[in-house]
Symmetry: D2
Subunit: 336 residues, 4 copies
């Protein structure tokens, strides 16, 4: 690996703060700038990244020739622009998911990445979790043989606020995309989807024309069958379970309990559950950045990359269409 | 409870043998006859039931005025006739599932049961498993509040022979009916289904026009969503998992490990898995019969009864139709 | 196996009632008599055993030439006499543990058994639990190689009444003997013990000069080290855990959860625990009797037998001595 | 918290390297110097700590007035001297365990700490593991009521080399001290110990007069009983289990499985086990340093401190004496 790589962090909100801490933990990474239009945010996050400077102007980042890579944690509706400007400036890009909420804008931005030949990685952090990464290793080693069924559940502890929901693109694009990406990562490309949705508890979801509960059937190109279950609320916490079933067995990834503690009392025994994505996937957020910088240092291609950003979004769009139109939708139908 | 109840066991095959042992374990039950057209089978099973006699003629059973109840374990295609003759003879009936493979014959037989006012119980034994029974108790006590999602998986260790498959009615009727019954038992009546099926490994299934792998979406009358996954083969054994998700939490019934033993070695630690339904649900088979005789003694109505036999089969039929026609099917569409 | 074996059940109390049910479930077993000095008890238990008759006089059992075997469930202080009379009458004996509370009386009774050459089995039922039996199979197959450490915990849900405690022989003889027997069964013969005891909660234990909490070190003849922990009270139920550690790994037998159900709520997830020995070891009670009758039918020697009854008690006596005298005690010191 | 604290890392070996990474992750910490007599080691570790400089001379560290705290990771036989010199230079001290292998030297060094009034923390990192920290919180909140029994097991994957063993102070001082510290942390002070040891597999242990397997009884001042089991080798990895049993239940801390993955195959299902202390307690190593710096920033007293370093070692010394002399040893016997 190279000794040094100079980096900028763009976006100093909640997730930017987490990335800042992780950037400080890589000895070869030097954070030159933390950039946020709210300069106070940049100021607060800067020491966590051990950053050399701060700015409220992204153009300052893009103008700096010494900055080789950017980590983009801005609001979703600015991702595509940041990616394009970074790529045009010949900087490697790590970007939080999604590139954009629609396929057209996503495709445009990724075209700029391709045209400029810069390394690109999208923030599907679950792929770097010890459980999912180990599952992938075993699958690649042929542990299950041919895969026949896939299942994932994704439940958040509670729904986001109405304003967020209104701009989120809907449950299939905002939430289920993580499960769709796991499906592709672990079981291969998807051919067709069929989705049912329901409003069970969230007036906000109803108000913005979204659902809070959904089930999506997947038919993989291999012929395998899959199913994704989602809910915007689970009182016991953050519920992420994935199962891959094949001709030689099955692998289940299910992060329980949260702590290595069993508490026995008159009512049996009790264990803790994870609360939300940062306590469940905190280590994966660090690992995905580590992998990104490793690829930059080695000159290899980061992953998940352009194709993953695009293909996983296509499934989300197809599922949304299926839910709205009440019919199976082929991924090939989805125009880009 | 009453001191004595005189019973006949009709059908001395594999499952009849299990019921015979259980009958011997109820002190109030006297098995008057074990009946099987293959008299050698009746002879072999008779001592297990501590039976007073054997016969190869069902009419002998129905003619005996002292016999109050029959346990029917004959081949599926004779169930309806046995039920009708027993009911006409005013005997209480416990019958292995299903009543018949089609709704018309099922309805006819159950009409005879109703017309004669005899107690009737169908062999959905899972309802009597300690896990499912406890889940039901907690749900009835309101532990989860409103139910929003339901999931069940049913995987057998291996597919039955082609001859069995050819007469089985197909995966949705033969295998998935157990999961459909659990869905009704735990989450309420079903309004609509949508099913996908695939042939992944079984040439026999393909040859008889059946599938070996399937996923079925359920929309409950309550608006809750459900999903059932089935496979005819799992190398690790008999895989039965059920999850009920509601506004106050979720309950998962998953029988693992098989033995209370963990084996730690260089490759981590290992636990055993159940092989098939007799090692997983052996105790439930006993418990369902115990409940049946308890109802007879108390004069209460056995459960699951006529309506359960009919309604669970309707879901199977609807799922079969959905799979064949590639569209959602309402349970109300299913003519009876 | 033989077609028929005629048996008497002596003692129709709590444990006799359980054995009665199990006796009825073996088709080859005919219970000729249920015997209890309280004839009402015999009457109540008789139908559970599908017994041909009842009596309040043990001599009636011993005089009957057609009775080949007895199952002894009388109060502990009569075990030795029942064993001797049965053996002298040339009947095979299954006897609940212990033979007697002291070694002298135990030795005398077992000498009579040996002298008369009758089959004998002592009721260490845990050896027939699926977990312990499977552990034994793996150990015998060399799964762990040389054994280096052994651990068992035995905790009852609550202490027995003072009258029972006063006659029980003390915690090491009454309770810990089950763990000592498991130690011998799974890890081999014991050379030396060292025990600490304490009164933590039971005034009754203090009043009768006993302890309610104890830890016993074991040094096996092989040089392996072991430890047994006991408590007379655990609010969460019946806590029986055993661990065998060897050069190639370890095996843990720990029966949790009680039901195959996980309940997720705001406080994490919860599972049930076993309450007492009948819900934990119910199946083992049946299996030990089944094994006994299997040996009688095959003409093989039942196990655990005379030597096990004696050797496991010796460890209990040695531990009691160690606790009282505050020093390590060799099993070879224990005079018999 | 304060904005900045200037720190030196003394010792750049295996554990120093881990601490270096963690130091870089605390934004308020500035590592002024990495010190190691092998300057190449200091050079290698320095970028991990984002250190300003390196040195091979500890006196350079102690002479620097701007350095407020030192993290000591040198070989054990230099700990006491480093502590004394740091304390005399008025620097706060975090030191890996143990202070020294004998009580006299430990007491001397800690006296210098006390005399100079500098903050001191000893590296019992397990106290900062999520499982143990949560157990402590629940115990302090009275979750178990009075504690009656305590159990810990500590097994390493394999024995250290003979040279290490020869200078380690022996199993009770080198390895079991972690379990003894957990006993004090979770169940209170110890009054008396009794230990058995054995050589089961390690010729090296035998050659240096040590054991590789041991069991230690603890009698707490509260009257509760405890037991510690140790082994220098476990083929399945790093085996650390702790159980606290009280009048209202029990708490077990047992870190399994290593990854949130279950692999089902024909031989049942398999999960991974931790390999050694860095994969099991990596996060705890970071958390203990974080707590240390938090205390410095807040002006509160770090913990575990001087008394813990001393008292836990006393138990180790008492256990060693008990093993050698074959008798129970009171902690109060241990002269300091």
């Amino acid at each position: 690996m190279r000794d040094k790589i100079t980096v900028a962090l763009i976006g100093a909100g909640r997730i930017g703060l987490e990335h800042a801490k992780n950037l400080a933990s890589f000895p070869e990474v030097q954070v030159a700038l933390v950039c946020d239009p709210v300069i106070e945010a940049a100021k607060r996050v800067s020491p966590l990244a051990r950053a050399a400077g701060i700015t409220d102007a992204p153009e300052e980042v893009f103008a700096r020739g010494d900055i080789e890579a950017v980590v983009v944690c801005t609001p979703t509706n600015t991702h595509a622009e940041m990616i394009e400007r970074a790529a045009t400036s010949k900087k490697a890009v790590f970007c939080e998911k999604p590139v954009a909420l629609d396929l057209k804008r996503t495709r445009e931005a990724l075209e700029v990445v391709r045209a400029n030949g810069v390394p690109f990685q999208i923030g599907f952090q679950r792929r770097f979790d010890t459980g999912y990464a180990e599952a992938k290793r075993r699958l690649d080693a042929g542990a299950l043989g041919r895969i026949d069924q896939f299942r994932a559940v994704g439940r958040d502890p509670g729904p986001p606020p109405r304003e967020y929901l209104a701009k989120s693109g809907g449950l299939f694009i905002d939430q289920a995309i993580h499960e769709f990406d796991l499906a592709r990562f672990l079981a291969g490309e998807v051919d067709e989807v069929y989705a049912w949705g329901a409003v069970r508890f969230s007036e906000d979801a109803a108000a913005v024309g979204d659902v809070d509960t959904a089930t999506t059937l997947l038919r993989f190109k291999s012929g395998a069958l899959g199913v994704i279950e989602n809910s915007r609320r689970a009182v016991y916490g953050y519920d992420i379970v994935t199962e891959i079933f094949g001709m030689n067995g099955k692998i289940v990834v299910q992060a329980e309990p949260k702590t290595p503690l069993r508490h026995y009392s008159e009512s049996g025994y009790q264990m803790d559950h994870f609360h939300f994505f940062m306590d469940r996937f905190g280590a994966a957020f660090r690992a995905e950045l580590e992998a990104f910088f490793h690829c930059l240092a080695e000159g290899t291609e980061p992953s998940p990359g352009v194709a993953d950003a695009l293909e996983s979004l296509k499934i989300s769009v197809a599922a949304t269409t299926s839910w709205k139109e009440g019919r199976p939708v082929k991924i090939s139908e989805i125009a880009v």
